[in-house]
Symmetry: none
Subunit: 189 residues, 4 copies
DNA sequence: CATGAATGAGAATTCATTCAT
DNA sequence: GATGAATGAATTCTCATTCAT
C-alpha cells in the first residue's frame, strides 16, 4: 500500500510517457499502472495536460536540484564545473528511471505550458552558465552557446537513453571517458 | 493540381509528424494539409501505421542515398570520411524540411515494423563503418561504437533541429566549426 | 467479353447478395465480380437500392414466368397443380444459382419498394390460388392460407438452400419424395 | 434504471438484428435502443462481431434449454417426442420476441464464429435425434435427416415469423393443427 | 460509354472525463 | 476520498457515389 497516490500516478505516467509518448498513453493505462482507479487521477490533476506538465516540472525540478548539489565554487576551473554538470546529469539519469528520456522527448511538445518551458530553459541556463564562462575564459570554443549546449545535451541524452535500453553497457571507466569526449567536443584545442 | 497525391500525403504527414508526433496527428489533419479527402489517404496507405512506416522508410532511404553519393574511397583518410558523413547529413537536413527531426523522434516508436527498424539500423551502420575503421586505425577513441555513434548522432540531431526551429542561426563557417567539434569528440587526442 | 454489362452486374449482385446479404455487400465488390468499373454500375442503376430492387423484381419475374409455363388447366386435379408448383420452383432453384436464396433472404427487407413487395405478393398468390382451390375442394386442410403457404414455402426454401450449399445431396427420386412430404403436410387426411 | 446494461444491449441488438439484419444495424442505433451510450457497448462486447456472436449463442442456449425441459422419456412414442419439440420451439418463439427470427436469419452468416456454428449444430442435433429414432422405428419417412429437418425447421421458422409480424393470427387450436401438418409431412403414410 | 481515382458522409471504435456509489 | 462504470466527442476507417479522363 503506497502512502502517496499522487506519487504513484506520477511514477506510472513517467514510465509510460517515456516509453510511448504523451499522446500514445491513455489515462486508464496510467491508472492501471499506478494501481489506482481512473477517476482518482482526476482528484490529483485537473486533466491529462495538467498531469504531464506537473510531471515535467517535477522532473526538471529534481534534475535542477541534482545539478545544484555540491556545486563547485564559481571560481573553480571550468573543467571541474563541466565535469560536475556531466556527472550530476548522469547520476540523475541513473537514479530516475526514464526521467531524462521523458524530458528529452517532451521538451518541445505543444502541450507544455509557459511555466514548463520556462523551467526547462532555466535548466539549460545552468549549462549555459558554465559554457559562457568557459568561452569568456577562452577554454571553450567561441561558438553560439546554443550550439554547444545542443551538442553536449544531445549527446548525453542519446547516451543515457542507450544505457537505459541496454544498447550500451555501462562499464567502469566508460562514463569518465565519455565525459572526456564531450569536453573535447567543446573545448578549445 | 498535384501530379502525385501519394507524395502530397507523405509530405503533409512528414511535416505534421515532425511537429506533433504520430499519435498527436489525426488523419483528417493530414488530409487537410495534403489537400486531399480523408478517404484518399486510405487509397494509398492501408492505415495510419502503414503510412508512418512508409514515410519512415522513404526518409531513411533518401538519407541513405544522400550518404551514398560522392562517397570518398574506402582508402581515404578517416577524417575525410567523417566529414563526408557530417556534411551529407547536414545537406539532407537542410534540403528535406523536417525529415531528420521526424526520423530522430520516431526511430524508437513501438509502431515501427521490422522492416523500418532494419533500415534504420542499416543507416546507422554507415556511420558505424567509418567509426570502426577509425578505431582500427587508432584515429578514433577505443570506446564502444554505439557510444560514439550516439554522441555524434545525438549532437547532430539536436543541432539541425535547432536550426530548423530558428533557435540557432546558420552562419557561414558555423557548420564547419561544428563538424570540427564533433570530430574532436571522438578522435584520439 | 459479355455483350450485356447490365446482366453481368445483376448476376454478380445476385451471387453476392445471396451470400452476404445486401448490407454486407459493397458496390465496388459487385463491380469487381462483374468485371466492370464501379462507375459503370451507376450507368445502369441509379443507386444501390435501385439495383437491389431491379434484381429482386427480375428474379421474381423469372420465377413467376417459370411458374406460368406448362400450367395445368384450372380444371386439373389439385394434386397435379400442386406438383406443378413444386417442381417448377425446384426447376428454377436448380437453374438460377442463388436466386431463390436471394429472394427468400430479402423478401422482408426494408429497402424493398412497393413494387417489389407487390410482385412478391403476386408470386405468393400463385401458390395461394392452388391452395385456396384445394381447400374449397376439401383436398387441403382448412387452415389459413398464409399458414399453409408458409409451411410449403418455408420448407422448400430451406431444402433448396441446402442443396445449393451441398448439405443435401440431390439423388434421383429424392425430389419426388420431398414433394410428397410437402403435399402430405397440407392435404386433408 | 436497469439493473443490467449487458442485457439491455443484447435485447436491443436482438430486436434490431431481427428486423434489419446485422449489417443493416449500426452500433449507435443499438445504443439508442438500449438507452446506453455508444461507448458502453464496448465495455461489454469487444466489438460488433463479438456482440452478434454472444447474442446468437445466448439465444441458441435459451432455445436449447427450452427444448430440454420436460423432455419425454427416450422410450416415449416418437409422436409425443415430436410434439414436444414443436411446442417447445413454439413456446420459445412466443416468449422471446424476435429470437427465432434472428436465429433463422443469421445462422448462415459469415461472421458467426466456430463456437456459434457448433452450438447451432447441437440445437439441430436435438431435432435430428428424434427424427433418426423415428426413422429407425419406421414411423418417419426414410429420407435424409437433413431434408426432414429442413422441412420442419423451415416451415416452423416461416410460421412463427408470420405470427410475429401479424400476417398470421394465432387462434386457439391453430398451433395444434399446424403441428399435425408438420408431423404429416415427415411421417410414414 | 466506361472507368476508377477521389471524395466526404457515416460507420466502428477509442478514450478523456464525469459522477453515482 | 476513491472508484470504475458510463458517456459522447473525437478518431480511425469504409463505402456509396461522383466526375474528369
Amino acid at each position: 500500500m503506497s502512502k502517496n497516490k499522487r506519487m504513484d500516478i506520477l511514477e506510472a505516467a513517467l514510465e509510460l510517457f517515456a516509453e510511448r509518448g504523451y499522446d500514445g498513453t491513455t489515462v486508464p493505462t496510467i491508472a492501471d499502472q499506478a494501481q489506482v482507479g481512473a477517476g482518482t487521477i482526476y482528484r490529483y490533476f485537473a486533466n491529462k495536460e495538467v498531469l504531464v506538465n506537473s510531471l515535467f516540472q517535477e522532473c526538471i525540478q529534481q534534475l535542477t536540484n541534482t545539478l545544484m548539489t555540491n556545486v563547485p565554487p564559481a571560481a573553480a576551473p571550468i573543467r571541474e564545473r563541466f565535469k560536475h554538470i556531466f556527472f550530476r546529469i548522469s547520476e540523475y539519469a541513473g537514479a530516475h528511471g526514464q526521467a531524462l528520456t521523458f524530458i528529452a522527448s517532451h521538451s518541445d511538445a505543444p502541450f507544455l505550458n509557459e511555466s514548463s518551458r520556462e523551467m526547462f530553459e532555466q535548466f539549460l541556463d545552468l549549462i549555459r552558465g558554465v559554457i559562457d564562462e568557459g568561452k569568456e575564459q577562452g577554454m571553450i570554443c567561441p561558438l553560439p552557446s546554443n550550439a554547444l549546449i545542443a551538442m553536449v545535451y544531445g549527446a548525453m541524452v542519446q547516451l543515457f537513453n542507450m544505457m537505459k535500453t541496454g544498447a550500451l553497457e555501462e562499464t567502469p571507466g566508460l562514463l569518465a571517458q565519455i565525459e572526456e569526449c564531450c569536453w573535447n567536443a567543446i573545448r578549445v584545442h
